[in-house]
Symmetry: C2
Subunit: 239 residues, 2 copies
Amino acid sequence: MRISELSRASGVPIPTIKFYLRERLLPAGRRVATNQAEYDQDHVRRLRLIRALAEVGGLPLATVRRVLGAVDDPSLPMHEALGIARRALAPEPAEQHDPAVAEARAEVDRFLEDLAWEVSPDAPGRDELAVALATLRRVGWPDADTRLFTHYARTADRLAAREVQRTTPAGATRAETMERVVIGTVVFDGVILALRRLAQEHHSAARLGEPKGRSRTARARPNPPSATVPISGNTGGPH
Amino acid sequence: MRISELSRASGVPIPTIKFYLRERLLPAGRRVATNQAEYDQDHVRRLRLIRALAEVGGLPLATVRRVLGAVDDPSLPMHEALGIARRALAPEPAEQHDPAVAEARAEVDRFLEDLAWEVSPDAPGRDELAVALATLRRVGWPDADTRLFTHYARTADRLAAREVQRTTPAGATRAETMERVVIGTVVFDGVILALRRLAQEHHSAARLGEPKGRSRTARARPNPPSATVPISGNTGGPH
């Protein structure tokens, strides 16, 4: 196909395709005339993957190049190529050198070991959980330890089992699998958080809202007496 | 208590407390001498809430003030005060005027109506879901409609039911409830996403990884023949 057809098939504008060609992210087409090249389905697939990484994942070009290199490296198992992408997509963790985070990190490592999850020692999620735990402690969240994560871990485990099965179908190429995993990770991050907040609003309405909640007078008291159950006396948090 | 004790009890440094006093986010203490004021548990609680909103939630001061105003307004049901905080904590949605997003938004509204979730018409989660759906369509995700969200909605529903119950214990003050909800929402956003990625890595290892996966040769093929199942032929996505 010509570059115009490639653009239509991939949804990527021609100037962007030319840019990717110049940057060697997209392999050159087969030259059929001085001024014309022929492209095929591999180019369509590669463009979709680049778009997933750069546009949906928001990755900088250098990182896109690194992930593409991993996809193309026949000696690298797909699982490891996906690991490189997942690492690139993770948020930059802060407070790395805080001793409270370092302490929390050791607890997170034990927690993941107890779950028997097979995750690499430098998976960014470990630090993210450590920062979360340290934050909960800093703000005095009751019973702030990794047990708060247990219920969420169970939920994430069920979700991920299903997702991995669906985003890595047998027979898909490495590029296709990578594309699905990247888009699936990034877009469904947002979906999960949006649905969680909507569901919280719904359950909050049911528990505290006008029609079914407690009486308006009770709810509307701005500052109930101090002698209510102190916050540190509650045995929970959303775990 | 003196301001130094208030600082210890709340974990907020004295200069920050003085700043909040000047900004009238924190009510003045009871003056006991020309140069000395006395603070109580209400001040501790208010400081914890300010910290939750400003530090953990990352909200700008004007928004912190608005949420505090809602907490203090006796005529405003707690459910609505929480709604104001949830809205402030939501990410800024992009692509608002994209017709593809507008179309997706109508589908999201129908989806939430079918779920019978009680959520306000301007809840930011609606737009976030619409942007996600439009993105999936733009990149050619197979069968991109709201049915992709069904499984996630069920998961979010179970999670939120539990969270709302635990973050709004009976007897807690409005300030305490608000603090728990804000911290719970923000910190556990990160916990959920981190655990999901770790669990994906774990399941990905089990499915594609070295010891239990398919043979290395099969996995390592960089570009299996094009005649494999085309990506649009898969009936799924992680729904």
